[in-house]
Assembly symmetry: C2
Homo-oligomer: 185 residues x 2
């Protein structure tokens, strides 16, 4: 499938970037839904260059430090467009280690299960709060009017989806905890 290939092409479609820049992007908002380490990115950049989808120019940073600024080629743009507009089924499995534990809840004692769920709820609430702050920052920056043509629309979509994902997880955890409390007595 080579999704990393398309992630790189997509990032480069808005302007040139170094491998290091891409790593940073995967640590920021995009990282909610895709990420890769530099050890995976650098070989992929070499491969994409060989395939003619990207090209680079070596730039000197300071007096000695070389960095490679990559940009997308016309062939790369066609390749990206083909992937973007392709319909794909919703995945059967989205791996979630916590939910695997939840499935095995009968192998835990009630109080162990409650502690596990309470801990996860706290962590998800913290994450949701963090994402909410990021979304508010973005709204301030973009001036309240985010629509299709806004350069921040992709960023906005990712943040709203991630926030809803965490909020949905939290409300489910709360419901599950309630079921466990009711059973206890």
């Amino acid at each position: 499938m080579r999704v990393l290939k398309y992630a790189i092409l997509g990032l480069l479609d808005h302007g040139s970037l170094s491998g290091y820049d891409m790593t940073s992007r995967f640590k920021a908002e995009l990282g909610q839904f895709w990420s890769a380490k530099h050890s995976q990115i650098y070989p992929e950049l070499k491969k994409l260059t060989d395939e003619g989808f990207i090209e680079y120019e070596t730039v000197i940073q300071g007096s000695k430090l070389e960095k490679k600024m990559y940009s997308i080629t016309e062939a790369g743009k066609r390749e990206l467009h083909g992937w973007l507009t392709e319909f794909k089924p919703a995945p059967d499995t989205v791996k979630d280690e916590f939910m695997l534990k939840a499935y095995f809840i009968s192998s835990m004692e009630p109080d162990e299960a409650k502690r596990l769920f309470a801990d996860q709820l706290q962590k998800r609430q913290e994450k949701a709060a963090f994402l909410k702050t990021k979304l508010e920052e973005l709204k301030r920056e973009a001036g309240e009017s985010i629509t299709f043509r806004s350069p921040h629309f992709g960023h906005y979509l990712v943040l709203t989806r991630a926030l809803e994902r965490e909020n949905g997880y939290c409300s489910w955890l709360e419901k599950a905890l309630l079921l466990m409390e009711n059973d206890q007595s």
Copy 2:
């Protein structure tokens, strides 16, 4: 991390299973949150046997067909319990190819983006409908009273979480589509 190891131990904690049985379980409800192919399961079973966490008995099915019925050992139960009760952070990244495309929405034409989102909405709605049916079946089977002590509680947790996940995705897709429509004029 070896999550598959714990998935197998968790499955075996309720009774003995063959490798084939485990493959079937990963295709059913548990597959919403974890899965593995038989080509990954069989080597893992061998490894877990060598490590002393599981053991097997060869059973003859029919007149010739040999199958290995695996069961969990005391050491395996301790190992499972340690994993189950261990607190873990919420993951930074949950990979989602569709959301990667959404992030790159500015590289698409408005009508291309709308078609993509509409297609995904339809597929997620179908999946939600399927999960809803499964949940209703489970409720009928379990007699409306699912609490911690119910043998179906793990199954119930997985189905309710998967259903909410899909419903949340759908409502986000609808909101995104509305934003795109409003912008169009």
